[in-house]
């Protein structure tokens, strides 16, 4: 407050309007679930799965941010809970951004739930800043049904805070508007940032309570003591902008579609239509000088008997910026996908493949072509492209599912820990690898994991089968492991040198797919395999060989 005429104040803060949809994560989750805003709902996330966003009815029932879910459910028994999902938040916010774009031409999504736009020109066009705010609120409400609030002020932080109060701060008054507020409001500029929360707490303990006090601190001292985050916070506290809001240029997703009449039963018939679509899409893209990041393939399958329609959809990441998406490559992608859909295997047991009556291709994440450049040096310069080309050749030879990428996921046994995904396909991980997974087998992971467990016999010193009882008592020390039968892994007959275990793993026992197993590690010294580690599992008294440590 002391040096209002400081050199950095004037002219740096852009007149900014901020559009804020309260409790966005909950609103988005409600939209996806098809529930109305009157439902008490909350979104959980972060460490410990605490509540991070609450809908208004839940809030009036006493549910607050930061509560444990059990406590929240105690206060509001019919509370709907969803885990946080950034993708869902961002995706569902797109209609709001498009509604706002009917009022103003360029805007920036600060984060799902918050839109920023430079209000100068737009306010002149619509008459005044209040008219602009009213127009934005109306259009968002009419087109999406969400309630939002708009605030206008100088600079980012003041605009965000003004939006929370649905206020218009007069030009030049933003610094006073901010001055008396507690420093903790900085959290609204960057929610969920632990470092900022800790910094604000530190300032409180140091006696810096309000934004005015923070703004009055010497610049150099703030930079030296609190680093970049401190400088950022001080700039915001002074009502300055870190940078003016960037206008985004919206490129719409391109979609081409075609009805197939009569419906296609065979892959080649459907591929013929797909080739036409691919050429149209490719022409559209290249005519506008655009490249797409993802290709969405949608097919409508109609059951020939009942006439029931089902929509099949798959998303492919194209890495277009690297290689240039040709019509032939789009056709290949679609053909692999159609092969999957028109053969029963991917539809699950007992479901006959339905003929495809309609096909649509959509280019998503559209951006001007050539915006992304491969690196000149280091990994990823040329060999990524070279490798991608080789993979595409192999996919063209063998089909789309022939080349798999590997991803680690959560799981307890070595087979569960690996997820194989066809190259180029976008599939979310089945299980979160960052969860603790209690009972998981200790590292190192076995170097050979049998594709299918093979039945085995584990015998004790007197040739009797080793049995593990419910209390994990072993009937006798394992002395011999025999893998009977014919096959790649069969014929093993080895003496046990040492062993470890048994370790019980009961997974999903509350579902029909539940598995209860007991694992045993064995060091076997056979005629041909000296000191080979074996991983054996026992389920319902039957042993099987799961993996080898060789």
């Amino acid at each position: 407050m002391t040096d209002r005429s400081g050199p950095a104040t004037a002219g740096e803060a852009t007149r900014t309007a901020c559009l804020w949809v309260p409790d966005w994560p909950v609103v988005a989750a409600l939209v996806v679930a098809g529930l109305g805003p009157e439902t008490p709902a909350a979104v959980t996330g972060g460490p410990g799965g605490r509540i991070i966003a609450v809908s208004a009815p839940a809030r009036s029932a006493g549910v607050r941010r930061g509560m444990r879910r059990r406590e929240a459910q105690g206060r509001c028994p019919d509370l709907q809970l969803w885990p946080a999902d950034d993708a869902r938040d961002a995706r569902e916010f797109e209609p709001v951004a498009m509604a706002a774009e009917t009022v103003v031409s360029g805007l920036e999504i600060a984060r799902p739930g918050v839109l920023l736009l430079p209000s100068g020109g737009a306010a002149r066009y619509h008459g005044s800043e209040r008219d602009l705010a009213r127009e934005l609120t109306e259009q968002v409400a009419v087109r999406t049904g969400h309630e939002c609030q708009v605030g206008v002020a100088d600079g980012f932080l003041a605009a965000v805070l003004a939006a929370r109060e649905d206020a218009v701060v007069p030009p030049g008054a933003s610094r006073d508007y901010l001055a008396s507020r507690p420093a903790a409001v900085l959290v609204h500029a960057r929610p969920g940032d632990r470092a900022l929360t800790e910094l604000v707490d530190l300032w409180r303990r140091l006696g810096v309570h309000t934004l005015a006090e923070l703004a009055a601190l010497p610049d150099a001292a703030v930079a030296a003591r609190f680093g970049d985050l401190g400088v950022w916070a001080q700039r915001l506290a002074r009502g300055q902008d870190v940078r003016p809001p960037a206008r985004r240029r919206l490129e719409e997703d391109l979609t081409v579609a075609e009805e197939l009449d009569p419906p296609a039963h065979r892959v080649d018939v459907a591929t013929f239509a797909a080739r036409r679509l691919a050429e149209r899409l490719h022409d559209d893209l290249s005519r506008r000088g655009l490249a797409c990041g993802r290709l969405r393939i949608t097919a409508r399958a109609v059951d020939p008997v009942t006439g029931e329609a089902r929509t099949l959809e798959r998303l492919w990441r194209t890495d277009d910026t690297l290689g240039g998406l040709s019509a032939a490559r789009i056709t290949d992608r679609v053909r692999w996908q159609l092969e999957g859909w028109l053969t029963a295997s991917s539809l699950g047991e007992g479901v006959a493949p339905a003929p495809i009556a309609g096909l649509a291709l959509a280019a998503e994440e559209v951006a001007p072509a050539g915006a992304l450049q491969p690196r000149l040096w280091g990994p990823g310069a040329g060999e990524d492209l070279r490798a991608h080309r080789a993979v595409e050749r192999v996919q063209a030879l063998l089909g789309g599912d022939a080349v798999l990428t590997v991803r680690l996921q959560g799981g307890r046994d070595p087979r569960d820990r690996v997820q194989l995904v066809p190259f180029g396909e976008q599939v979310p991980p089945e299980r979160d690898p960052d969860r603790p997974w209690p009972g998981a087998l200790p590292p190192p992971a076995p170097s050979v994991v049998l594709p299918e467990p093979v039945p085995a016999h584990v015998l004790d010193g007197e040739g009797r089968p080793v049995v593990v009882d419910v209390r994990l008592g072993v009937s006798g020390d394992p002395a011999r492991v025999v893998v009977p039968g014919e096959g790649t892994w069969s014929g093993l007959d080895a003496a046990v040198v040492d062993w470890a275990g048994p370790w019980p793993v009961a997974e999903r026992w509350w579902t029909p797919q539940g598995k209860r197993r007991v694992f045993l590690q064995v060091v076997a010294d056979g005629v041909a395999a000296p000191a080979l580690g074996l991983l054996l599992s026992s389920s319902a008294g039957e042993w099987s060989l799961e993996a080898l440590y060789d």
């Binding site: 990994p379 990823g380 040329g382 060999e383 070279r386 490798a387 991608h388 080309r389 080789a390 993979v391 050749r393 192999v394 030879l397 063998l398 022939a402 080349v403 798999l404 990428t405 590997v406 991803r407 680690l408 070595p414 820990r417 690996v418 194989l420 190259f423 200790p442 590292p443 190192p444 992971a445 076995p446 170097s447 050979v448 994991v449 049998l450 594709p451 020390d477 790649t488 892994w489 014929g491 093993l492 007959d493 040492d498 062993w499 470890a500 275990g501 590690q521 060091v523 056979g526 005629v527 041909a528 395999a529 000296p530 000191a531 080979l532 580690g533 993996a547 080898l548 440590y549 060789d550």
Partner: protein, 258 residues
């Protein structure tokens, strides 16, 4: 990375304590390396090159434990798997040739059906393209019939391989009759090959089965350099005596056995 025009053969790095196993201290581009008897040795060989940016593909190796590969240090974002089931009747040499053109390291699993002339052609192609070919030779487990099979490079070998690493003996440490778990693997490796690798060399290697523990990656090798050559054995194998290896969990990771 591998074999651009006007570029001599490069050497892809390997984990330091495996460097002494290879004549160039790493995987020289364009060469063929055969590994027999230990998948963990094979995966560990790949790890450092993969972290360095090499694209790796495992062809016809459905049994390879990818969790173990990740633990060994492979970068899974640049690791691909082509299962290539033998029953599907695909043309394995054509697929391998396409992959050799694009990938930096191609691992050929034991389930790929190849003829002798296919192997020769693939070796030549890899040399031209500057790709490292790693052949997983059939493990003794699958041919458990006789112990002698393991020692001789019979028909299942890769005739043109520049370096063949064979595990002749091994030991696990960490278990104790029900307690503990498998922790550390010591391998007796015999190296044969052509050219500078022609003289057989016997090395004792501890496989860093897990990078997560930090222990294996931290400790470095004492004498993992060219000075190891002086101690090499000419051809005899001390296969009968396992004595030096028992209870060896705490000693340095690599030593020359002679």
């Amino acid at each position: 990375m591998a074999g651009g025009p006007g570029e001599g053969p490069r050497v892809l790095p390997v984990v330091p304590h495996l460097a002494a196993l290879l004549p160039d201290g790493g995987l020289r581009t364009g060469t063929t390396v055969g590994v027999r008897g230990s998948t963990s040795l094979l995966l560990t060989l790949l790890a450092e090159a993969s972290r360095d940016g090499a694209w790796t593909v495992l062809v016809g190796y459905p049994a390879a434990g990818m969790a173990a590969a990740a633990d060994a240090g492979c970068d899974l974002t640049r690791t691909l798997v082509v299962p290539l089931p033998a029953s599907s009747g695909v043309d394995a040499p054509a697929v391998l040739a396409a992959l050799i053109d694009g990938m930096d390291v191609v691992v050929i699993g034991p389930e790929v059906a190849l003829l002798e002339q296919d192997r020769r052609r693939l070796t030549i192609r890899a040399r031209d393209r500057g790709t490292v070919l790693v052949a997983a030779l059939p493990t003794p487990v699958s041919s458990a019939g006789s112990s002698s099979v393991r020692r001789e490079t019979g028909d299942a070998g890769w005739a043109g391989a520049h370096v063949v690493l064979e595990v002749t003996e091994g030991a696990w440490a960490g278990t104790d009759h029900g307690a503990g778990w498998l922790r550390r693997r010591t391998l007796w490796v015999r190296r044969t090959g052509r050219g500078s690798a022609a003289r057989p060399l016997h090395l004792n290697v501890e496989v860093p089965v897990c990078r997560v523990g930090g222990e294996a990656a931290g400790r470095e090798v004492v004498g993992a350099g060219a000075d190891g050559e002086g101690f090499e054995l000419s051809g005899e194998q001390s296969s009968g005596t396992r004595a030096p290896g028992e209870g060896s969990a705490s000693r340095p990771q690599l030593e020359l056995v002679g």
